[in-house]
């Protein structure tokens, strides 16, 4: 698609979508969002970019192959799930760490749940882009 307006707008829009996708990912545990939705938003950003500027540009912007990204995501999710073995819990049991917790305040929570969700995010992003890029290029 050769439209100047779309190309210029996309340059900003794609970036905003990507930032928004990370925001959706991080807030997902308490507000609407999460890895699935975040991954979808991120994918929309790249798909938009690919439509406006061509797949080769979008591939360059992604820097690594989308299928590799999906595999990495799957690996991260698996590691997050296996992590509970160290604490002899059942597989995929969330492990939590509350930084600076006091009696009144839980502090800053970190968990393997977030790591798992990041894995989901990367899988969704990578898988969709794998298909979209391939279709754009091959058909």
């Amino acid at each position: 698609m050769n439209s100047l307006i779309l190309r210029v707008a996309t340059r900003y829009l794609a970036g905003i979508l990507l930032i928004f996708s990370v925001y959706m990912l991080l807030r997902g545990h308490n507000e609407p969002g999460g890895g699935f939705i975040g991954g979808l938003v991120g994918a929309t950003g790249f798909v938009l970019y690919a439509l406006a500027c061509g797949t080769s540009m979008a591939r360059e912007a992604l820097r690594i192959q989308p299928q590799t990204l999906a595999m990495i995501g799957l690996g991260i999710a698996l590691v997050a799930g296996l992590f509970s073995i160290v604490f002899s819990d059942a597989l995929f049991t969330g492990q939590w760490l509350f930084i600076g917790a006091t009696d009144d305040d839980k502090g800053y929570p970190l968990s393997t749940i977030l790591v798992f969700d990041i894995g989901v995010y990367l899988v969704v992003l990578g898988s969709i882009l794998t298909i979209v890029f391939a279709m754009e290029e091959e058909i």
């Binding site: 545990h29 969002g33 979808l40 938003v41 839980k106 798992f116």
Partner: protein, 757 residues
């Protein structure tokens, strides 16, 4: 056979020797059971496997299983020792010994199992490992065909067996064999006795190659000779015989059991003996004599007299000893001369004296000359045959004919190649085989002689415990093994056998030609099998072409039509259609969404422009997202919205580049599609209404609401379920997503490559 290679390194190193130690250790260990077993004890070992299904890994050591264990491990050790030289320097020797040892362990598991299900698992393991062994020479099409034939035939039998074993287990209320065997009367009187019997015998007859399932066994001779010696003497083919013997206490004593086993066994024995004499290839001749032995064993299992069962177990031991020895000897001949053809081999006695001696001993045992164990076995066979109360003449006649032919074949295989002078040149100058290849034949042949002279060695340790295990004790019904049992009918029958056998041997070249002509005239089971397979392939091709047309629209039609038919029929037959349903009064914004949804649908259906159809389909998707928002599911709504957007992009990318199809000359499919669409919509709506009539079970919802924050530290319940409560499910789902993406990628790349891009 091309496996025997003398090129390259002459040994297989430590991996050639190490596998020999495994069966040797088991053989030695089994000896420790001889004491308790000869005292009449029965040992059981058990540990749970799948306790919820009543499946356990339990093992039973009694006379029958111990006899098999000793034969399997003993012959296994000798065969592995032999193979290490026979296949010296073979590039895939490691694979070979792995298969062979795996097979042996599976076989041991089979004969020691005390649970129907674990017995079946080991049974199938022997099927698979023997497939690998028969097809070991995988570059030869003949090997591959034979291996596949054995696999399919015994595998099909095994399916019947599985059904039979499950029926038996359900009927008896337990899967433990030792418990089932004690309930023999109950099982024989049960209404399901006949189906169980037929199914189990189907498994046993295919495995033990009874006519008409016999043809895979001679073909399986495509395997390297040590494999034939192992699989087709003491082990694999005897698995079926073992099963029948194991089930003997539960099944025997009925008319149908007796007649089925007697007729199948006798037919196999006589039929195979004639065909054995027809063969020119020594190994093929031995293969058919194995069939004869299996037939004889089956025939004796039909009876439940002490004589018949004593004859059964004695002949089982005799046959394993001489048949393994003879197979190994034929391997030696093949290895040292380069041929196995009976009509050109001759004069090997001078060049291979030890082989010749071992062959002579084995053959005499096979032919049933005194003082070998084979003689005792044959005398017992006749005694057992006469003791078969219903049809002594039939059984004795079959045994007499089979034994005489056996004597003639023994002469052809083990006497003629060594002692006749011949002018035919051999491919290689014969010389004596190396000692590891002689150890097996010599030890096995010597055992046949030693046990013949001193049958007391196995009388109390193996024979009596086995007979007791099968017929019950005390008092024992086992008969004594005696070289000289006095002047009686069996002795006369023996003499008749010698006369008839020697006469047959004298005329065997003529007889071979006549038999060959007869055999060629009769329809061949082997070719019949090929025809069945061809028919099966044609059927598969036909139904594939019918169902998988390659037209996407037709696939979709079939899928949705099946949905309508299956769900619709179930709704019609199983439920009362919803009679009344309430609809809440709708607000204006809800009406707006519904109208938008319907409008989008109508435009999608009516338009002839692809881009309009895609866009209006997107409208429908977005209105669905709006519905989610109205009913308070923001997560689902967002996901729906995003997925809808991406789908529109994807479909647009794909659809807009498709060529417009030329529809001239093709009937309009739209009316039919419309009908189907209405059907799917109706069925779905009715299903939804029925679901809504059920009271909503809120237990899970309440649980998640209550625990999401205190236990999982998250307020967004949907997300907490996804990444915490049901993280394992989510992991499975994202794995599927990745696989789907990679498959789509691979498909797209392949079509692109085929298009020449």
């Amino acid at each position: 056979m091309g496996q025997a290679t003398t090129d390259g390194p002459a040994t297989n190193g430590i991996w050639g020797w190490l596998p020999v130690l495994i069966p040797l250790a088991i053989f030695g260990w089994s000896f420790s059971f001889l004491g308790p077993i000869s005292n009449g004890e029965v040992l059981r070992f058990s540990s749970d496997w799948v306790p919820s299904l009543g499946i356990s890994l339990s093992f039973l050591v009694d006379g029958l299983s111990l006899t098999f264990t000793l034969l399997i491990s003993g012959i296994g050790a000798l065969v592995l020792l032999y193979s290490n030289t026979y296949l010296a320097g073979h590039p895939q020797y490691g694979r070979f010994s792995l298969y062979l040892v795996s097979f042996m362990l599976a076989m041991l598991g089979l004969v020691l199992s005390d649970n129907l299900i674990s017995l079946f698992v080991f049974w199938e393991l022997t099927t698979i490992t023997s497939y690998l062994l028969i097809g070991f020479d995988n570059e030869s099409a003949k090997s591959r065909r034979s291996a596949l034939q054995a696999l399919l035939l015994t595998g099909a039998g095994a399916l019947a067996l599985l059904a039979g074993l499950i029926l038996l287990g359900v009927t008896a209320g337990t899967f433990e064999i030792s418990v089932i065997l004690a309930k023999g009367d109950e099982i024989r009187a049960h209404a399901l006795y006949l189906p169980i019997l037929i199914l189990i015998l189907a498994g046993a007859f295919t495995k033990s190659a009874q006519v008409p399932f016999h043809f895979w066994l001679p073909n399986a001779m495509a395997a390297p000779t040590p494999v034939s010696a192992f699989l087709h003497s003491a082990t694999m083919v005897k698995a079926g015989v073992y099963l029948m013997a194991r089930m003997h206490p539960a099944f025997s004593g009925t008319e149908v059991w007796m007649w089925t086993l007697t007729i199948f066994g006798a037919t196999t024995a006589v039929f195979a003996s004639f065909l054995a004499l027809r063969q020119n290839d020594l190994k093929q001749a031995l293969a058919y004599t194995t069939l004869m032995a299996l037939g004889t064993l089956t025939m004796f299992l039909g009876s439940d007299t002490g004589y018949a069962i004593t004859a059964f177990i004695t002949f089982l031991i005799v046959h394993s000893l001489y048949k393994a020895a003879l197979f190994l000897i034929v391997g030696c001949i093949d290895h040292e001369t380069g041929t196995r053809r009976a009509d050109i081999l001759g004069g090997l006695g001078r060049a291979m004296p030890i082989t010749a001696a071992a062959a002579a001993l084995s053959a005499m045992s096979m032919a049933g000359f005194p003082p070998f164990l084979g003689f005792i076995g044959k005398e017992l066979k006749y005694a057992g045959a006469i003791a078969v109360t219903s049809e002594p003449f039939f059984v004795a006649g079959a045994a007499l004919l089979a034994n005489s032919l056996m004597l003639a074949v023994a002469g052809v295989v083990a006497f003629k190649p060594f002692w006749r002078t011949t002018g035919e040149p051999l491919p290689k100058t014969p010389h004596e085989a190396p000692w590891p290849m002689l150890a097996g034949p010599v030890i096995l042949a010597a055992l046949g002689a030693v046990l013949g002279i001193a049958p007391g060695l196995i009388q109390n340790t193996l024979i009596t415990p086995t007979v007791d295990a099968m017929l019950g004790a005390p008092p024992t019904e086992a008969k004594e093994l005696k070289l000289w049992a006095g002047v009686n009918i069996p002795l006369f029958l023996s003499i008749a056998t010698f006369v008839l056998g020697l006469a047959l041997y004298a005329v065997h070249p003529t007889l071979r030609n006549i038999l060959a002509r007869l055999d060629d005239m009769t329809p061949s089971f082997d070719r019949g099998w090929d025809r069945i397979l061809d028919g099966l392939k044609a059927l598969a091709g036909w139904q594939t072409r019918l169902i998988q047309s390659g037209v996407l629209r037709r696939y979709m039609f079939i899928i949705f039509a099946t949905f309508v038919a299956v769900i619709g029929a179930t709704l019609y037959l199983r439920t009362d259609l919803p009679t009344s349903f309430e609809i809440e009064p709708l607000a204006a914004k809800q009406w707006a969404v519904i109208i938008l949804m319907i409008a989008g649908t109508l435009v999608t259906v009516a338009t002839r422009s692809r881009i309009t159809a895609i866009a209006s389909l997107g409208v429908v998707g977005i209105t669905v997202a709006l519905v989610f928002i109205m009913y308070g599911a923001p997560d689902v709504a967002i996901t729906q919205l995003l997925v809808e957007t991406l789908i529109v992009v994807l479909v647009a990318v794909a659809m807009l580049r498709l060529p417009f199809l030329d529809r001239r000359g093709e009937s309009d499919h739209r009316p039919l599609d419309a009908l189907l669409a209405i059907g799917v919509g109706t069925v779905t709506t009715i299903t939804m209404l029925l679901v809504l009539e059920q009271p909503l079970d809120l237990r899970l919802t309440e649980y998640f609401e209550a625990t999401s924050w205190p236990e999982a530290f998250g307020r967004n319940i949907v997300n907490v379920i996804l990444v915490d409560f049901r993280a394992l499910d989510t992991f499975g789902e994202i794995a599927v997503v990745v696989i789907a993406a990679l498959s789509a990628y691979a498909l797209l790349r392949t079509t692109a490559k085929e298009a020449g891009k």
